[in-house]
């Protein structure tokens, strides 16, 4: 055991082996990068600033540190020589153990001083160290435990300590170096104030050294472990559940994509066309999400705000619904991976997306990003839990898939930027994304990522949409409405007949329920014609959605007409047999006219003048009536057909009803 190392101050400070090693490391650290080999050389002095940082990292109060510096003689000497440095370190250890900062306390055997958050030092040790340094600073306590656990494992594995590896080999393993004090600190706290044997420390140290080297090589994996463990411990760093997934929850996988496309097809067979708002609304309402959330999802996914969803928009909306059902909170802005531009090429590149997303992380430390980068390089399968998520069948509530490992915050954190600053965002992301790969090994995905970024710049929503677009929407919506009933043939040859028809229709609308309608005033009261008109009116009812009722009514009315029209019985029978022949029907009115004419004739006694006038009047009336009758006959035939169809439907329905009736009774 070396005794006395503080020559300058005249103190004989007993330093154990471990302490010696430690202090020399720290000294080398403080001297640093220019002269790393000067660790054990007493000549160079430690940089004051670095020493200051180190001392501050020991988390002692400032006045204690001042005391220490005074005591160790640095103030006197003016610089931090190795001796002073060692004394100072020992005093720090003492202070940390709770001993008063006195020279006397140096005489005791003290544990090694602990230095928390030595990030500043680590940062200067190159990229690899940077990773670990930053990593280790935050989840410090957990890492200690972790490292200690690993140390235990290491112990069990290698009880035979290999010869002391050169500890002072500097930047080669500064990370390992960093781990060591932590583990030592932990070891110290764990074992209390007892001083374990130096041998065990050596063993631990060496194992740590090896572990450290292992860490250096597989820094990613250790980081993964640590990050995940720290992750589980420090939940508050993950504000959003969505960052729990190793893969971007806002990215659509192939499986999901196919499912969405199938769903789209079920709603709209043409993949290039779009789903209208109402159709989509009905569909998404089945997902049983609350309406405000659905409204928000629509807002997010309908990028061009046209009230309709194209295929990529639909996929995005569906994906958001899936995510929401699995417990993710909806972002305020549409994630880049769900943009229609992004989804259009239908290329899913999870790796470069992870690179993309890294640039957006705000709440996560850089460590996790590196881990992800490394993970991509390690070719871990990106089977995110979303894949394993059941593709949601609407109506089935799926359970939340538990997080399997850490995840970076998706785009939403960066996408809180205003939509107007999309271009800025794109620029920012490209710059940040470029800087990050420099730090970490640039992956081959970088090129792909930048390309995607360029394509993903959110275009400003085109305002070319004029207000006439609303009319287009209306037209679209109208097109979806049930086809309007076929227009009624109103073929009229003359004004008079059309007027008659109008009156007929007016009467139809007025008196829909009555079976007996008053004859139209324009036409002279001809019982048969009026009867036919009434029948036709009645038969017009089926068109007005009263088919079954009116068919029943029409049949009794027909029968009644039959009874009241004995002279025209044969004609009536033809009519009733639903003879579609227009001639017969036209014949009937003419015959009726003639019959009525003949009936009228006896009414005209021997008044020739009046008779001629009346004849003329009659003839004109006859003409009018003929035309009207022709029109009515045609109408009648069409209505008869409709009536037939309605009859058939009715019969079919009745049959179904009868079939179902025994079932319902049971």
């Amino acid at each position: 055991m070396e005794q006395g190392a503080a020559g300058g101050a005249g103190l004989l400070v007993p330093l154990s082996d471990t302490e010696q090693q430690r202090y020399s490391e720290l000294f080398s650290l403080c001297c640093c990068p220019p002269a790393p080999e000067g660790g054990s050389a007493p000549a160079p002095a430690a940089g004051g600033s670095k020493v200051g940082d180190l001392f501050r990292a020991s988390q002692l109060p400032a006045d204690t540190l001042q005391q220490i510096t005074e005591l160790c003689g640095a103030k006197r000497v003016g610089y931090f020589g190795p001796a002073q440095f060692y004394v100072a370190l020992k005093l720090i250890a003492a202070a940390q153990s709770g001993f008063p900062v006195r020279i006397e306390s140096l005489k005791c055997e003290l544990p090694l001083p602990r230095f928390m958050a030595l990030k500043n030092d680590e940062m200067r040790y190159g990229n690899a160290a940077e990773i670990h340094g930053i990593k280790f600073q935050v989840p410090h306590a957990t890492l200690e435990k972790n490292s200690f656990k690993r140390a235990d494992e290491g112990d069990k594995q290698e009880t035979k300590s290999p010869p002391k590896s050169p500890i002072c080999s500097p930047p080669a393993s500064p990370s390992s170096y960093q781990r060591i004090p932590l583990s030592y600190g932990y070891g110290k706290s764990r074992s209390g104030f007892e001083q374990p044997h130096g041998a065990t420390y050596e063993a631990r140290h060496s194992t740590h050294q090896q572990d450290g080297s292992a860490v250096g090589n597989y820094g990613s994996k250790s980081a993964l472990v640590h990050s995940s463990l720290s992750r589980s411990l420090s939940v508050e760093r993950e504000p959003q559940e969505s960052s729990n997934y190793p893969d971007d929850p806002w990215r659509i996988t192939e499986e999901q994509r196919e499912y969405y496309i199938n769903q789209f097809k079920s709603l709209q067979p043409d993949l290039n066309s779009f789903i209208s708002g109402s159709v989509a609304k009905n569909f998404f309402t089945k997902s049983k999400l609350p309406i405000p959330e659905l409204s928000h999802i629509w807002e997010l996914s309908d990028v061009d705000c046209d009230g309709a969803l194209t295929l990529p928009e639909f996929c995005a909306a569906f994906h958001l619904i899936v995510a929401r059902k699995n417990g993710y909170l909806l972002p305020d802005m549409l994630p880049e991976t769900l943009l229609p531009d992004f989804l259009q090429p239908a290329s899913l590149k999870p790796k470069h997306d992870s690179a993309l997303l890294d640039s957006y992380s705000e709440s996560l430390p850089v460590s996790q990003q590196t881990r992800d980068f490394n993970r991509t390089e390690l070719e871990t399968v990106h089977e995110d839990p979303i894949n394993s998520e059941p593709l949601i069948l609407f109506g089935a509530v799926t359970s939340v898939v538990e997080p399997t490992s850490v995840e970076e915050v998706p785009d939403k954190s960066a996408l809180t930027q205003d939509a107007n600053s999309d271009d800025n965002q794109a620029v920012n992301t490209s710059t940040t994304a470029k800087t990050i790969p420099k730090d970490f090994k640039p992956s081959q995905h970088l090129s792909a990522k930048t390309v995607v970024q360029e394509s993903n710049t959110l275009k400003a929503r085109p305002r070319s949409r004029s207000y006439s677009s609303t009319s287009i929407e209306d037209a679209m919506k109208k097109g979806e409405e049930p086809p309007t009933p076929p227009p009624r043939p109103q073929k009229s040859h003359s004004r008079a007949s059309s007027l008659d028809l109008n009156k007929i229709f007016q009467q139809n609308t007025q008196a829909m329920k009555s079976g007996w309608l008053p004859p139209p005033p324009a036409l002279p009261p001809r019982p048969f014609v009026s009867q036919t008109e009434q029948v036709s009116e009645i038969e017009l009812h089926p068109q007005m959605n009263r088919a079954p009722l009116q068919t029943e009514e029409s049949s009794p009315t027909k029968k009644e007409i039959l009874l009241t029209q004995p002279p025209s019985k044969p004609i009536r029978r033809k009519f009733r047999s639903e003879n579609q022949m227009l001639e017969t029907q036209e014949l009937t009115p003419t015959i009726s006219v003639t019959s009525s004419l003949s009936a009228i004739k006896p009414h005209l006694p021997a008044q020739n003048r009046q008779s001629s006038k009346q004849k003329r009047a009659i003839q004109t009336a006859i003409r009018k009536n003929k035309e009207a009758n022709a029109v009515l006959a045609r109408l009648n035939s069409e209505l008869q057909q409709q009536l037939k169809e309605v009859h058939k439907e009715r019969i079919a329905l009745e049959m179904q009803l009868e079939q179902l009736r025994p079932v319902t009774v049971l």
């Binding site: 708002g277 405000p292 409204s295 928000h296 807002e299 107007n420 949409r465 207000y467 609303t470």
Partner: protein
């Protein structure tokens, strides 16, 4: 500074209200409500000429309070009312027009959402953010 912004539907019930600062909201409600009468009057007066973007400058309603109230009506008789502090003389006519145009566009986007029933209060986040950005821009 824009002090208040209120969107009212056909039957004059409010669809959306936003004001900065929020203390005097009641007063703004009153102001806007009284201005609606003027709006209606102008609508009826213009008759069939209201095809294009309409705008309604009311000028200073209450000279003592230094508020300017601007109005805007859409084709579906949805009224947008903006209350502006008169001390902000930098606000020009064109700016007001552009603001109303932006608001109208955002309102149209809200309407495009099939889950939005006309007559509901507007809960759209995009709309909110747009209004906020506009108000910030002026303030």
């Amino acid at each position: 500074t824009i002090v208040a912004y209120i969107l009212r539907a056909l039957q004059n019930y409010p669809l959306y209200i936003r004001s900065i600062p929020t203390e005097n909201e009641l007063k703004f409600h009153y102001t806007v409500h009284t201005s609606l009468d003027v709006v209606d009057e102008k609508i009826s007066a213009m008759g069939k000429a209201l095809v294009d973007q309409r705008e309604l400058y009311l000028g200073l309603l209450y000279p003592t309070e230094d508020y300017k109230v601007y109005g805007y009506v859409t084709n579906s008789k949805v009224k947008f009312v903006m209350v502006v502090d008169s001390s902000n003389t930098a606000l020009r006519d064109n700016e007001i027009r552009s603001m109303f145009r932006k608001l109208h566009n955002s309102y149209t986007d809200v309407m495009c959402n099939p889950f939005y029933n006309p007559g509901d209060c507007i809960n759209s986040r995009a709309f909110d953010s747009m209004v906020t950005s506009m108000m910030m821009q002026v303030c």
